[in-house]
Symmetry: C2
Subunit: 188 residues, 2 copies
Amino acid sequence: MGRWEPDARGRLEKAALDLYGERGFENTTVAEIAARAGLTERTFFRHYSDKREVLFAGAGPLQELLVNSVAGAPDTATPIDAIAAGLRGAADLLQERREFAVQRYVVIAANPELQERELIKLATLASALAVALRRRGVEEPTASLAAEAGIAVFKVAFERWINDKDRRDLPRLIRESLEQLKDVTTGA
Amino acid sequence: MGRWEPDARGRLEKAALDLYGERGFENTTVAEIAARAGLTERTFFRHYSDKREVLFAGAGPLQELLVNSVAGAPDTATPIDAIAAGLRGAADLLQERREFAVQRYVVIAANPELQERELIKLATLASALAVALRRRGVEEPTASLAAEAGIAVFKVAFERWINDKDRRDLPRLIRESLEQLKDVTTGA
């Protein structure tokens, strides 16, 4: 490792997101990101494997948090309560990173290849949630249905959060969407 | 157009799916598909733009059927009832093509690029269903939640159908999954 670079990762992330927003993801190079952050390309590659990785590095920790929250829900929790616990954990994390989340969303929405990658991430999350529920003894197809429903709620609440002029927070929008999904499925 | 080739499209489809299953999607060429079907490459390209298209040509008609069934549901139908009507239409269509659906599923499951394409197809279906509900006067986020819930039910029921040793039919599995989703969201 080279000399100490305070918050190199945070600076690279900010530089990358700013540049993707200014000139588009396709038109940004790693050299430009490093220069904007006042760091070297070598430092960039110590933190990220490529420029796409800057947008998706959070997927692993997010999945871990979701799965751990589902696993840690009380034994008495129903499958949807366990999923709700997972979504709450994820929502708290994302709420703290709202500015990054909004910038990231805009960049991904502008690029079909990144959108595909985001869809794969969500499908992977749904599978991981179903596994976490089965480990709690939930049977199929209930486990998969609860997991897919949880991801559906997450997608819809996340989209509202990003576009919400009233700036309601994500944990609240997820709570609301879970209630609304219940109303939808019961035909209320 | 050349001479009359009875059911060229169906023969090409069968030849393609058989070959994808035997030697893998990646290792199959259009020339081989045409030869197996007893047709020319030129005939292949009159029906399909490339070998991937054989697997995804049904996506457009399926989406049309879903959207039309949602649009045609009685005015009194709740959002989830309208979605259920759409899923019933799609399920009837797929049930008639079970053998093709199973072969196609196995080919896609073996190839990450095809899986991505399938995820995109499902996300597109969800968006189209939400649009169809909004046209019925359903407000957001209810429209998106009902649409995403419908796709969740479809995914889970479809997977059960493909792997079901008892060979229960898809319309039935979709009805069951809709009921189970209701139980899940109400914590029953």
